[in-house]
Point group: C2
Amino acid sequence: MSKTLQSFFPWIKTPFIISAPMLGASTSRLAVNVSRAGGLGFVAGGTDPASLNKMLNESKQHPFEMFDYPYTNLLQRRGALPIGVGFQLFNSNLELLAPIIASHKPAAVWLFAPKVEEDLRSWATQIREATDGLTRICVQVGSVAEAERSLALAELDFLVLQGSDAGGHGRRQSASIISLVPEVKDRLAVTQKAGVPVLAAGGIADARGVAAALALGADGVVMGTRFLASEEAGIPEGWKRQLVNTGDGGVTTRRSTLCDRLKENHDWPAWYNGRTIRNKGHDDEEGGMGDEENVRLYKEESKRGDSAWGAHGRMVTYSGTGVGLLHSVEPVESIMEKTIRESRHMLEMSYRQAIARL
Amino acid sequence: MSKTLQSFFPWIKTPFIISAPMLGASTSRLAVNVSRAGGLGFVAGGTDPASLNKMLNESKQHPFEMFDYPYTNLLQRRGALPIGVGFQLFNSNLELLAPIIASHKPAAVWLFAPKVEEDLRSWATQIREATDGLTRICVQVGSVAEAERSLALAELDFLVLQGSDAGGHGRRQSASIISLVPEVKDRLAVTQKAGVPVLAAGGIADARGVAAALALGADGVVMGTRFLASEEAGIPEGWKRQLVNTGDGGVTTRRSTLCDRLKENHDWPAWYNGRTIRNKGHDDEEGGMGDEENVRLYKEESKRGDSAWGAHGRMVTYSGTGVGLLHSVEPVESIMEKTIRESRHMLEMSYRQAIARL
């Protein structure tokens, strides 16, 4: 992990783990518990300032005592929150949301999916001004070119590099982090931006993915799906159960725009789609069913509660390809502790393996 | 690396690197030089026994002296070749090819793409018998379920796990190695097959990918695209130049069946497609051009030689997403030396990073 990240977030441990901002799922309790365990938890900002304000107020009811030192000295006495907030730019209003950021001063803001990339500049500038530089700003990108363009457009504190394995929304066309992370690192070095920390996202669901990300040159990782299957995640039990019961994510999940069409969310820029667990909605679409009927059946099924989830259900079940690495719903604290401990062990073992026969 | 792999191939170094069997590209000189540098080089067997026989005879003209010890003791004095041969099963005739394997005794045979998976059994059995067990047998798979089915069907010595980033042919639906490798390892442990070594393939083009694969739990790696850009690769200079000049492989390469349709190779089982660098053929297809006209233009362009390659050309340019990590055409010996050395360093550095802040 770079010294830069330590200076941004003085409480963090290594390997550095971020929980992704996932709308509805990333509760303030989830985010706080990730930060308390030495990571950086994110909530999803959504589009409604009042809801965001409420969620950030709630986050202050969770105990932050572990941040007494050294966090207090550096950020907390200036009133900052040791969690981050993520925004989907294409449908969010900066003017309405910036005052909430100014009021709560989250440790970080995560920008994703601008309608036009130039919007990154105004978001980064206004958020930085709103908290007098206390809030660190990152952008989630899915290609080498997008990383370079984003850094040229806006002053950014770190980058999230999202590979093709990620659950939820991402670029339709992308590599996995296996090639994305090292190539971006090389480009940053060439363009005098070698100091910009990069976090790897997509397909990482346990210690081995974390260890691999560090070996690729990342300064830390983002996990999403792993935290969906946490006690703190604000999603239906049916969804959590399906995550625990699903394996072989490369085959059982799909990247598609079906998730947005079923939810009648037609505003996503055309270069994104979302990875979900494949279910009846996909089967019917491949069998020739049109959106109108598929949406109707989706809405009908939504009323069934937890039993609507599953491979034979129709719910939109965001998940990355790492879903087969989850075997139970656990508290965030134990996910964090185990992942950090085992990833250190994995790197020690693989270094020994690498020098076994010279 | 597992002790098992050391016993199969006594000359190998760690990290263990395999060069993929790539039809036309993987010359006997390429394969021999990979093995000489401490890896295991593969040639592609193709479908014609006479050509395979010729290629394996040629391989014996390259110096094998580095294998004097301990290789000689274990395999060479029984007349085996320290390289492997890969077969695409769906269009290959086992009865015609097995005698060539019996005669040359390659150190390994790599099985891929059977028309029906049950064919793995006859291939594995007959090849094992043909060389009295001297030839080790692996299967390339692209999902957790396929790995388990293959191991249940045939006696296999190791597995190649191919992720979605791979160049050339692979499963249309797959995860990258980030989640595929650890999940397969977990399944092998549960099914009492923990001793079966696994090699990671797809998107690995330099030391960082190798280090990551080990951190994921792999016993070694396969590189394809990196060896296409080697002096020894038997492909046109235009193709090599395009590999060196292409970056951001997640965006600039595509998985598609266009490669097979252009080459009028309609025999590939439906669950495979191929990753190539995107070019004019893809543009025209997306613009609505039918196969007949696209094939005609492809054949026309094929006559232009090296200038037919490039993003504005039409040649079938197999490449993985790691293409942006290649910056020059190099001899195999230097690719191997650098990759092995730097991957050890990368693992040492990332272990130190992981324990920096406890």
